[in-house]
Symmetry: C2
Subunit: 253 residues, 2 copies
């Protein structure tokens, strides 16, 4: 069995309002790639956010008293903390330099995914970028568009880089998916010796996201899209939101 | 840029004392693979543990009072809990069905990696399998052997499947590495617009481990080894132990 991951070359830099789906389809065709069923197109969150115009200019932000107080504790710009809190339902943990929140979309992540890097700060250091509005929905819309254009059932994953509890380093994580089982349920399948029923669930889309992240590196806009070929699965699609552990079941918040 | 991941076909089932390194070299040669510099051989933890004979027969285990008490709380076999505690320095969290510990090797993980699945339980349901003695050391020894045999500087990753805080599903994680920067330090590199110095560290070996896990699936002994080709890096090797966050720096224990 072989998996291949290929960067899509020459995807243009994305600006608000750009037709990112069209850019990706054009890049696939320019590269001479003929899509196949179950090809997975992995797209970096950052370019989706840019296409959606998810910028906030910190000069327009007035921090709340809560943001001011937290900003002192974590040693960050109170306006940035205000934006982070506006995207969150809960502060899970914080310390100097770090805020871990539950994002409104459910993800437990640093800084609510609010990003200051690789943003073209032509007016100074004040633009930040939020997560896309609806990552699963965006992936499904792109999946349908790819199906309409190529007449092939592809899958789509939107990835981001998350830090982890207990481990150093960020890894690619799926924040949106369409057309594949983001969470792969192996409950009830026999093990290698046929004796036990497994109770395992695999974070399949997170593994896809991590693999693609190896090629995107951190210059996610330089290599914003990766095509994975060769993966198979035998379960129906479920979206990336199924990867999120509900608070009531969570030992770590 | 392209990454390829290929399963090594026909690696024999492994028993205690088997020469797993020899099995892997033979499988590479049988498959007609000519190793190249920076090829990464990813090997599943389970087969290394088996080759090292890291079995414990629960019938030989006498649970301590502490294990008996915790076993009631988590609804597990007290002998299994005793084994888990024997491999651990700290219980980080527990609830019915789950114990998260700090393993003696440093990893924060469920059940100290003590595994009851895919173990050939010919004497009934009593054999469990511990993590290898020294995953980074094992990887380095294999790396040196591959270098001696093929005269090529390959890298080695040992992967396992870990659950995560806040997210459902296991993902492949690197518990041992050699020959690559397990934690890739991008501190000080300019971003895409050349304006900012990044403060990012990437869990490179974890992303490699996750990618390989897609091909190994959960029947890790069926597909215990994957060769990744095409990844490049510009930092010196550091072992997988550098991925572990020290307790003093950890917000989640």
């Amino acid at each position: 069995m072989t998996l291949t991951l290929t960067t899509l070359p020459d995807v243009p830099l994305v600006s608000p309002g750009d037709d990112l789906g069209g850019f990706l389809i054009a890049a696939i065709e320019r590269a001479g790639i003929v899509p196949q069923t179950r090809d997975i197109l992995v797209v970096a969150q950052k370019v989706v956010s840019k296409a959606e115009g998810r910028f906030v200019d910190l000069r327009q932000v007035v921090p709340s008293a809560r943001a001011e107080k937290l900003a002192v504790a974590v040693d960050k710009d109170p306006r940035l903390v205000e934006v982070i809190l506006s995207q969150s339902t809960e502060v899970v943990a914080h310390r100097r330099g770090a805020i871990v929140v539950a994002h409104k979309l459910g993800f437990v992540m640093a800084n609510a995914g609010v990003d200051q890097s690789n943003v073209d700060q032509t007016d100074g250091d004040t633009n930040v970028l939020l997560l896309p509005e609806d990552p699963d929905g965006w992936c499904e819309a792109l999946r349908q568009r790819l199906l309409a254009h190529f007449d092939v059932e592809m899958a789509v994953v939107m990835n981001d880089s998350f830090g982890r509890a207990w481990r150093h380093g960020t890894v690619g994580v799926a924040i949106g998916t369409a057309g594949l089982p983001a969470l792969l349920d192996c409950v009830g399948e026999p093990d290698l010796f046929g004796r036990k029923l497994r109770i395992t669930q695999i974070g399949l889309a997170d593994e896809v996201a991590a693999a693609a992240s190896l090629l995107m590196g951190q210059a996610a806009e330089g290599q914003p899209a990766v095509l994975m070929r060769g993966l198979s699965w035998s379960r129906p699609p479920v979206p990336a939101s199924t990867l999120i552990r509900a608070k009531a079941e969570d030992m770590f918040r």
